[in-house]
């Protein structure tokens, strides 16, 4: 479904992604893990058209995304839950959800959009209760739910999430990841970027480990998870700490 081949991304002259290749097949939940600064966010922004300068190839359903702007990519079916949630704080929860469907209003789907809002408030009841409240007044976890709900409003076929667990209490992280499992069961393809390697690998099918802009490990989530265990046993440290120490 999504093919990234030999991707290189630049910030000015600095190369932040140095030839990364990943693939996501329909219905999979793929996780991309790596320490702070390893290039996870850069990779996602490149896929979503938010980063103008990249080399290599990104194709979605056999169509190259080169030169496409974010609206075109959203319309093709890729939605991003950005790093740090980035809900529109002064606007109401409902308006945030409606904005998620921005690219669809042009196609006059008003009725369906209202139905989708109902579905999302079913998935996250708290969003229904807080519908008319400014998004900025929600707690971190609720904002993350809103960010996911907003992304779903575009009716994506591929949902990309950038560190949804960041800054959340363990219970809330579990809730968010459970939701992803549910969405996957409903047929959604998911690309999950995480620093929280253990949690992400537990729900993923396959994973890639990114380090300073390169894929250093990839494979079955289960294998990677045991690899994590091995490294922890060996070093007496968490995998993330292990990478943080080097990063």
């Amino acid at each position: 479904m999504l093919q990234v081949k030999n991707l290189r991304c630049y910030y000015g002259r600095i190369m932040a992604i140095k030839g990364v290749s990943i693939s996501v097949r329909r219905g999979e939940l793929i996780t991309l893990i790596g320490a702070n600064g390893s290039g996870k966010t850069t990779l996602l922004t490149a896929i979503c058209g938010l980063l103008p300068a990249w080399k290599g190839d990104i194709s979605f359903e056999a169509e190259s995304l080169k030169g496409m702007d974010p609206p075109a990519i959203v319309r093709r079916g890729i939605s991003l839950v950005p790093e740090g949630r980035q809900v529109f704080a002064p606007m109401t929860v409902l308006d945030n959800l409606r904005l998620g469907a921005y690219t669809r209003y042009r196609r006059r789907e008003h009725r369906e959009i209202e139905q989708d809002i109902a579905q999302i408030t079913e998935l996250f009841p708290i969003l229904g209760q807080r519908a008319d409240q400014p998004a900025g007044t929600l707690s971190g976890g609720e904002q993350q739910m809103l960010a996911i709900g907003r992304a779903l409003m575009a009716r994506p076929r591929l949902l990309a999430l950038d560190e949804p667990s960041m800054g959340l209490a363990p219970l809330m992280v579990e809730k968010i990841l459970d939701t992803l499992v549910r969405l996957k069961a409903d047929g959604l393809t998911i690309l999950l970027v995480e620093q929280n390697a253990q949690a992400a690998l537990k729900i993923a099918d396959r994973g890639y480990v990114l380090e300073t802009g390169k894929v250093v490990l990839q494979g079955d989530a289960g294998d990677l998870l045991s690899d994590v265990e091995v490294k922890r046993a060996y070093l007496g440290k968490d995998y993330e700490e292990f990478y943080d120490g080097r990063g």
Binding site: P70, I73, R75, P82, P90, L99, G100, Y105
Partner: protein
């Protein structure tokens, strides 16, 4: 009361207030000042959409005001066209120019539109002043015909007042529609976070360009109304200072608020009239009042007055 009913009542009240003022005002000078407030409100309204909702600044908006005024002046006085035919052309001319100015500058994020329009405003002013044969040059353009609808002559003070405020009311309705629409939501999203807006698939550049063109068109409409009201225009009306004054109206009134645009326009139109008494010190007092308002009410008059009202009510309830 439902919100839409409330809005309907608000508009009905506004209409009757305008009608009442029009009937009650007998002094032609008062009507004239009110008419100028209406024209300036129109200017502030369009710019407010750009500044308050799209988060962009234009430092050359007087140029679009001028393009509207000069286009209709030339078409009607020089070529004898009916003003009602020149109106769409004046508006279209400003819109086209805005498109050409906005296209390259809005591609870049940041304050490039501000810089671009600053330069453009200067150029437009020079064209108005130096293109003698067409614009009348520095001495101005005389003999712009008054407006009439069939047998009804609109040039009388009261009729023109009604015309201007009627147009303003329609413009307010249109702006409200835009703000409450999907486009308005996207604009507020851009204002809050351009990156997040892009992430949900808002074509931020297109949208900003659209708003810029729209605000230029509104300014040209105001220029049209101004030209046919005063029948004489000169470049000085459309200089850099006027652009700054327009920005000030928006900021003083309160950004992202329709009533703010009208409040700001009223204050900036009335102040010079009131301050004549200070003669030499006029500009000093003017500046002091502006500074005072911004220090006491940094969010602008609208928010400031609302805050005062809320505080007064709280004290009353205690």
């Amino acid at each position: 009361m439902t919100p839409s009913l409330k809005k309907g009542v608000a508009y009905a009240l506004a209409c009757s207030a305008i009608a009442g003022i029009g009937l009650a005002a007998t002094n032609p000078y008062h009507l004239q000042v009110m008419t100028f407030i209406g024209i300036n409100s129109l200017l502030a309204l369009g710019l407010n959409l750009l500044m308050g909702y799209a988060g962009q600044i234009s430092l050359g908006h007087a140029a679009f005001y001028g393009i509207g005024a000069y286009t209709t002046a030339i078409l009607t006085a020089t070529y004898g066209l009916s003003p009602w035919l020149s109106l769409p052309m004046a508006v279209a001319a400003a819109a086209l120019v805005a498109f050409l100015v906005g296209m390259p500058t809005l591609k870049l994020s940041g304050y490039y539109l501000g810089m671009g329009t600053l330069g453009f405003g200067m150029i437009a002013f020079i064209v108005f002043r130096e293109w003698d044969g067409v614009t009348g040059g520095a001495s101005g353009f005389v003999g712009i015909p008054p407006l009439a609808v069939g047998p009804l002559n609109l040039s009388s003070g009261r009729n023109y007042f009604y015309l201007v405020w009627g147009v303003l009311l329609v413009a307010i309705l249109v702006c409200r529609r835009i703000i409450d629409s999907r486009t308005g939501r996207a604009l507020r999203a851009i204002h809050d976070s351009e990156n997040a807006a892009r992430a949900v698939g808002v074509g931020t550049m297109h949208l900003k360009l659209q708003v810029f063109v729209f605000s230029a068109a509104v300014a040209a409409l105001a220029g049209f109304l101004y030209a046919h009201y005063v029948s004489f225009i000169s470049p000085g009306t459309f200089d850099f200072l006027m652009s700054v004054r327009m920005v000030t109206m928006v900021v003083i009134g309160g950004m992202a608020s329709i009533w703010g645009a009208i409040l700001g326009a009223s204050l900036l139109t009335l102040l010079p009239e009131w301050l004549h008494a200070f003669s030499d010190l006029e500009m000093v007092v003017y500046g002091l009042i502006m500074m005072g308002v911004m220090i006491v009410m940094p969010q602008g008059l609208t928010r400031g007055i609302l805050d005062l009202y809320e505080r007064a009510r709280e004290r009353h309830e205690r």
